[in-house]
């Protein structure tokens, strides 16, 4: 059943994907509105699916990869909607919708590996760790999306073809604001999530092995994140440089994720 609702949600998100593809060639207010409403609907179904999954599988819920992907997709939508409510623009959807669609698609595709759970893990901290980290990822995705839009808008303005395609992108400073704020909001989530993870590891293994690839890469990702916030704060880095950093943090996050395949303490097993 959770799959059913997830797939309904997926169908709704597909409208958003269509919007993202069409927006690259021409601006359409109508499609933007339709995509927005389809997304609301998709989020409702998505939430139903998440709740149902939690009831079905109880404690192991978040340790299944597909649930984590599903939750991440949902959180990204939440962040997108918050940005929409504040800035009244669906433009970040051009980047966000495809990411959400892909994540939901993979999540809805079927059973995937479980994370190996050592016995005696402290469940509350584990849930906090996962939820916080995923919220941090979600904000990072939006920030990355905003960076891309910034680059597009900047190059449009530089090329002196205002009013061409993507004419309805928000103003450069508005895009910048979206990216910066989501970065600022995401950073504490990511930090707290990593601390929670460290506590879980400490409690489970008695010590934290900093040479474990998962931990090393997570710290690296966090460092890139910190660097982004720092350069923005002090030197006002934005546009191209901010986009490179956001892309860097994104890649680091992906690598940290893939470390689940070879880490000793944070590892996938086939279900």
């Amino acid at each position: 059943m959770p799959f059913l609702w997830l797939r309904v949600a997926l169908a709704c998100y597909a409208v958003g994907l269509l919007y993202a593809l069409v927006a690259l060639t021409r601006a359409s207010d109508l499609l933007g509105k339709v995509a927005l409403h389809a997304s609301y609907l998709g989020m409702v179904f998505h939430l139903v699916s998440l709740v149902e999954e939690a009831q079905l599988s109880g404690q192991v819920m978040l340790t299944s990869i597909h649930n984590a992907e599903s939750l991440l997709a949902f959180l990204i939508m939440v962040v997108f909607m918050v940005a929409y409510l504040v800035y009244k623009t669906t433009s970040p959807g051009i980047v966000v919708f495809p990411v959400v669609f892909l994540l939901t698609l993979v999540a809805a595709a079927g059973q995937q590996p479980f994370l190996q759970m050592p016995a005696g893990v402290r469940e509350g901290w584990l849930i906090a760790h996962i939820a916080l980290i995923l919220a941090g990822y979600a904000a990072l995705v939006l920030s990355f999306g905003a960076s891309l839009l910034y680059l597009i808008q900047e190059s449009m303005l530089k090329s002196k073809r205002p009013g061409g395609i993507l004419a309805r992108l928000p103003a450069l400073e508005v895009i910048d604001d979206i990216g910066y704020r989501s970065l600022l909001v995401g950073f504490p989530f990511m930090t707290l999530g990593l601390i929670a993870g460290a506590i879980v590891a400490q409690a489970t293994f008695g010590r934290v092995n900093f040479l474990d690839p998962k931990i090393l890469l997570s710290i690296l990702m966090w460092a890139v994140y910190l660097l982004m916030v720092y350069t923005r704060w002090t030197a006002g880095w934005r546009g191209r440089r901010a986009a490179y950093l956001a892309a860097g943090a994104f890649v680091a996050a992906l690598i940290a994720w893939s470390a689940n395949y070879f880490s000793a303490m944070h590892r996938f097993v086939q279900s």
């Binding site: 303005l157 009013g163 450069l172 400073e173 002090t234 006002g236 546009g239 191209r240």
Partner: protein
């Protein structure tokens, strides 16, 4: 009543002719009064702007000599302006008015000013009583049509002057201009205009630097801004978000390294350079810096002309709207022409009926209530039967082009008096 229109515009007449025919606002009421006193004219409206002079009249028979009115009013010989005049009547006049109000007939298609001017002309004509029934209806409709064109097409949505393009670009960069600072380097007319536009859109403060400091002070005073000595420009320019340059300097004043300096002082917050000087004041290399956007006069001009051609495309769509609105209006007008005739026909026959009853009353003697009713019913029945065919013919004719002929015929057959301009206004409730 028929609608007639006569006029000149920027396409048909050179400015010498237009200024000859222009009627200043102060003399408009008097001119309107003379227009409605002109033989055959019931209602009148005069629109006089720098690009056009138009006389719109509701006339009794549709062949009133409006050219004659112009000749009398301006004491013109017939050869002076006649070749430049256009006249329209009926549907063509309605279409022309709709096009003018919707800004399709403007020099810059889609400019918003003309609608306001038509509204003013209407207000003036209404105030002196020159517009009451049908022209009132027509003008109200014209405003609604203009609004429809504006909302359903993009004919007025893009900026088509250098100053407004500059504002549009600034908004693309900064979103709101609230709290943004503008820096004028060189105190030319054009940069003053652009600054005025930016200020109207919310820009916070204006700095002016000029080689002659006096001139900078004068201009700064106009904007309530701050004059800055020219030697200080590199030290102060980073305070501004938008810089407009228009000096006569032979080489660029702002080079790439200046841009880098500004950016680092501003913590990379974006800057927008509008360079309207020729030769250019800003080195085009500066546009390559992240966060600095440089538009020179050609770039702005190009944006203007691409917007102008966009508007032309939208104007074609607007013409469709106008055509359908003209048809609707004509149909409505014809129905309106028929209704008073039906009413006066009914009144007329009812008067005859009453008069006849009164006349034979004495000879009939005392009647019982039943007999009273029978007489009533008998006479009413006759009247209704007689009226049936002409009324249904009128109603059918209302939808046909020959409505007026039928109306005239019925009026003549029954000898119906034309009521003098029944005062009725605002019955269509959609004044915009």
């Amino acid at each position: 009543m028929k609608i007639q229109l006569i006029g000149v515009n920027h396409n048909t007449a050179p400015v010498e002719v237009r200024e000859r025919l222009a009627i200043p606002e102060s003399r408009l009421p008097e001119a309107l009064q003379r227009l409605v006193q002109h033989p055959g004219v019931d209602e009148g409206l005069i629109l006089s702007t720098c690009n056009r002079v138009e006389l719109l009249a509701g006339t009794r028979n549709g062949n009133t000599d409006l050219r004659g009115f112009l000749r009398d009013y301006f004491h013109l010989g017939s050869s002076e302006v006649e070749p430049h005049l256009y006249d329209y009547s009926e549907a063509d006049a309605v279409r022309h008015l709709f096009r003018v109000a919707s800004s399709l007939d403007s020099m810059i298609v889609g400019e918003a000013q003309i609608l306001g001017q038509v509204k003013e002309a209407y207000a003036t004509a209404r105030a002196v009583g020159a517009v009451h029934s049908q022209l009132d209806l027509l003008l109200t409709r014209a405003f609604a049509v203009a609004k429809r064109v504006r909302t359903e097409t993009a004919v007025g949505s893009s900026a088509v002057s250098v100053a407004s393009v500059a504002v549009e670009l600034a908004k693309k960069i900064f979103g709101s201009l609230q709290g943004k600072h503008v820096y004028l380097v060189g105190a030319g007319k054009m940069s003053e205009l652009a600054a005025r536009h930016l200020q109207a859109h919310g820009a916070a403060s204006i700095f002016v630097a000029n080689r002659t400091f006096e001139r900078a002070k004068q201009l700064a005073a106009k904007f309530d801004g701050e004059a800055i000595s020219f030697s200080e420009i590199y030290n102060t320019c980073d305070r501004a978000d938008i810089v407009i340059t228009s000096t006569g300097a032979p080489v660029a004043i702002f080079k790439r390294e200046h841009g880098e300096m500004f950016l680092s002082r501003r913590k990379n917050r974006p800057m927008f350079f509008i360079d309207i000087a020729v030769p250019r004041d800003v080195d085009p290399e500066m546009n390559k810096l992240d966060g600095i956007f440089v538009y020179d006069i050609d770039d702005l001009q190009q944006a203007v002309s691409s917007h102008v051609s966009d508007r032309k495309k939208e104007a074609e769509r607007a013409e469709f709207i106008i055509n359908s609105e003209v048809e609707r209006f004509q149909a409505r007008l014809q129905t309106l022409e028929v209704v008073p005739t039906i009413v006066s026909l009914q009144d007329h026959l009812e008067t005859i009926r009453q008069a006849e009853i009164d006349r034979v009353r004495g000879r009939l003697g005392a009647l019982s209530p039943e007999q009273e009713l029978a007489v009533e019913a008998l006479t009413r029945g006759i009247v209704n039967k007689i009226m049936h065919t002409p009324v249904s013919t009128l109603k059918t004719a209302a939808r046909e082009p020959e409505a007026t002929t039928v109306v005239d015929l019925v009026r003549r057959l029954f000898n119906l008096q034309e009521k003098k301009n029944p005062k009725k206004a605002n019955d269509n409730g959609d004044r915009g």
